[in-house]
């Protein structure tokens, strides 16, 4: 059966036919976009007119986020900014530390099991003049149950006395840079760095396997996708053991599951040889809504955690250089073997030295295994300079820049981590566009909220949370931003032949908007209202999911 969707306006992102009013679909595939008269020739059809007053775009593609966003919503959100929950209610941001503690206390009052842990997430003290949380403040809420607040950056956690006690850390004489001590010689309850947080996290309810993927979390994640207009989303670092894969296959396979998920297998905890064979075994298990067989390599850490690898002149505050998360030889092996077997690799590099290592390694790998159209993609790639973008171009690399990060933490980079000049060049989407490096922009949800229209706004305006315009020269245009969140991201996943634009032969994936992005423009794009999505021809209203 053929359905013809009627819309107020369709922004197809297909340059050959950029605007349309109707799109015809059959069996989840687009037959064509244009005017009704042109499409009627496909044969008997049904007109779907509920979008007659709405604007359709190709379903948005989020090229770097994590399913963990879905899992975190079973815990208390204590972020500074208003954030839409999977159920559609906008949770008000906590504008003071007192508000954070009040929200945690309210959540505590609802718990019946006295020993149950109480996890909260997205705390960000930089908006409270960097006032730190002390365990005594959390003890005032409960001394019986462990409480833990994960920071928005994901790199720090604050816990109460009970949690320290359970983790064996409630003692004097601790000498560790990740565990600040109070005047009494005991830890204050702040834990800095993943290796310190992880052993305590399990006690406060942040169980790692659960955060990676559980059934309820998958559903919550998919609901957020509908609300953000996203039809295809990555899970950019997963171990993908057999049980997780079969769970994901089952859940995403349900007809009512409203998102296409693209999980990348990450390199940690497996030898390079086993990594290659694992993704080769995963690839054939792909389904329509679960796409397997890609690799994510983490090369360095984070800039705000001072664990990213920077070239000279290094960190602005003099911190020592960061850490490698993979040996250069292993990176070389993974890149070469993946080129050889046609496996797509995305590499996380935050610092410019890490980016340079990938560029140098890629150059040698391509000499050994000449290959065009590999689409290997540098993820984050926040500090790359123009010379590095030139090399990306030469080597055929794509880049996915962290536009949202620039908004939320740009001021910190300006003042503390890399200093004014390099803070202005961070996430240089303008340079990527000028030089013709294929690029996307991302949220890294749950680190920042999922929402490609907001991400596009960040990349066009480069305005930080305090209102500073950071790097005027790297702003992109509305057309470039809309491209980046559709075809741009699809290209980095090698899926642009299938999704990313509304044109004949592609999947019937649409974002349904109440407002026209071209009318909203550069200043107001983030305020564009999302009605819902269409995935493979199936309609999902944000108000229903």
């Amino acid at each position: 059966m053929i359905t013809i969707f009627q819309a107020h306006k369709i922004l197809t992102m297909n340059p050959q036919r950029p605007i349309a009013t109707h799109v015809a679909i059959r069996d989840g595939v687009i037959l064509g976009a244009g005017e009704l008269g042109e499409l009627a020739g496909w044969g008997p059809h049904r007109i779907e007119d509920r979008f007659a007053e709405k604007v359709l775009m190709p379903g948005f593609v989020e090229g770097h986020c994590h399913l963990m966003e879905g899992a975190l919503w079973s815990h208390t959100y204590v972020g500074f900014f208003d954030r839409m929950s999977p159920d559609g209610d906008v949770q008000k941001g906590c504008k003071s530390l007192a508000a954070v503690l009040e929200k945690i206390a309210l959540a505590e009052a609802k718990l019946t099991d006295p020993a149950a842990p109480l996890p909260g997430w997205s705390l960000d003290p930089i908006y409270f003049d960097n006032e730190r949380v002390h365990r005594a403040q959390l003890d005032a809420i409960s001394t019986e149950r462990p409480i833990g607040l994960l920071h928005a950056s994901g790199h720090i956690m604050n816990v109460n006395t009970k949690a320290l006690e359970l983790a064996g850390l409630l003692r004097p004489g601790i000498n560790h840079e990740g565990v600040p001590l109070g005047d009494d010689g005991f830890p204050t309850g702040e834990l800095k760095g993943p290796e310190i947080m992880t052993p305590v996290a399990a006690h406060v309810g942040f169980d790692r396997d659960m955060l990676a993927c559980d059934e309820a979390g998958l559903w919550r994640f998919a609901k957020l996708c509908v609300r953000a207009g996203v039809t295809t989303a990555t899970d950019l670092a997963a171990k993908l053991p057999d049980d997780a894969v079969s769970l994901m296959r089952r859940v995403t396979g349900e007809r009512s599951f409203p998102a296409r998920v693209v999980p990348l297998r990450f390199h940690v905890g497996v030898s390079p040889e086993d990594l290659i064979s694992h993704v080769q075994a995963l690839a054939p298990q792909s389904t329509e809504k679960l796409r397997l067989g890609r690799i994510k390599v983490i090369v360095d850490g984070s800039i705000q955690g001072f664990s990213a690898r920077l070239r000279t002149p290094g960190y602005y505050n003099g911190a020592p250089n960061g850490l490698w998360y993979i040996a250069p030889e292993h990176l070389a092996y993974i890149l070469e073997k993946s080129l050889e077997h046609g496996i797509l690799v995305h590499t996380h590099t935050n610092g410019d030295e890490a980016t340079q290592l990938v560029l140098d390694t890629m150059r040698r790998a391509l000499r050994k295994v000449p290959c065009r159209d590999h689409r290997f993609t540098l993820q984050h790639c926040q500090l790359a300079d123009t010379a590095q973008f030139m090399q990306m171009k030469e080597l055929g690399l794509c880049v996915n820049l962290f536009a949202n990060h620039h908004h939320y933490w740009g001021d910190q980079h300006y003042e503390l981590t890399v200093g004014p000049e390099r803070a202005e060049r961070m996430n240089a989407a303008g340079t990527a566009a000028r030089l013709g490096v294929p690029f996307a922009i991302h949220s890294d949800a749950p680190i920042t909220p999922l929402g490609p229209l907001f991400t596009g706004w960040c990349a066009m305006n480069r305005r930080t949370a305090t209102g500073r315009v950071l790097g005027d020269a790297e702003k992109i245009t509305l057309d470039q931003a809309l491209y980046a969140i559709t075809l741009g991201a699809a290209y980095t996943l090698k899926m642009d032949g299938e999704i990313g634009s509304i044109e004949a032969g592609k999947r019937a994936d649409f974002t349904v908007l109440e407002d026209d992005p071209e009318v909203m423009g550069v200043e107001r794009l983030k305020d564009t209202r999302v009605w819902g999505t269409v995935l493979g021809g199936q309609i999902f209203a944000a108000s229903d999911v």
């Binding site: 983790a167 000498n175 086993d274």
Partner: protein, 294 residues
Amino acid sequence: MSEAVPPLTIIGGYLGAGKTTLVNHILRRSNGRRLAVMVNEFGSLPIDADLIEAEDGDLIAIAGGCVCCSYGDDLMAALAKLADLAPPPDHILLEASGVALPGSIASTVSLFGQAARLHGVVVLADAERLPEFLHDPYLSDTIERQLRAADLVVLTKTDLASPQRIEDSRTIARAHSSTSSIIESQGGDVEAALLLADFDVATVSRGSEGPHQLHLETQTLPMADAVNPDAFARSLANDPLVVRAKGHFLADPDGRALTLQLVGPRYTISEAPARTQPGVVVIRKLPQAAEEPR
């Protein structure tokens, strides 16, 4: 600290330094000791199929009571799993990944030390390639930080390296690891003996690959009189020729029986098990060349 908490030795060093070779060597010669070996991933650790008794995800039980455990990105969870083993292992060997900083691992292990107590950091370095690594702009600072964290540096593959390279590597190791002991490997037996808690001095001295070839000497201090525990341990730890010591002694003034474990400059003192005889075995290098005091 109770004796039931097993000692943990971190084996660090860049790719190709011989960490896995050493771990395999030690596993093959466990001689009844119940070793737990922690590796980043199983990929590089070839365990003969007939030695595997049971496999449970990231834990493999090996004939003779040893286990192998892969820790991936969650070292502490793996350590907690080992703590549940009954009876506990005699010794834990943690093989760090090639770019990991053993110093960071050491401080994290000491922090969450319920399952193990840190016994020493051993860093392996390929005597042939160490000088070139120090000139690699991507790697030099990582290798230097590894060496700085070492209690004991083992220069490996000395049979393949020219005398000049070995000398250069020795100089580098000394420059970046001024407080540690530096030895040259001859095949694994001596490192194995040095790493494990219960080395048998007689066996080590007699073996063809024993200390004589390495210019090491062993000495047993009878410890007839009680001593101040910290002052005694420090005197050994500050001696640049002492690479390893273990044994029991009586504390001055209360007469408690204590156990000393020492690797290079790092030592731990714990309550001695019941019915132990006093005596501390010390392995030291023969003074070939003058060494700076540490």
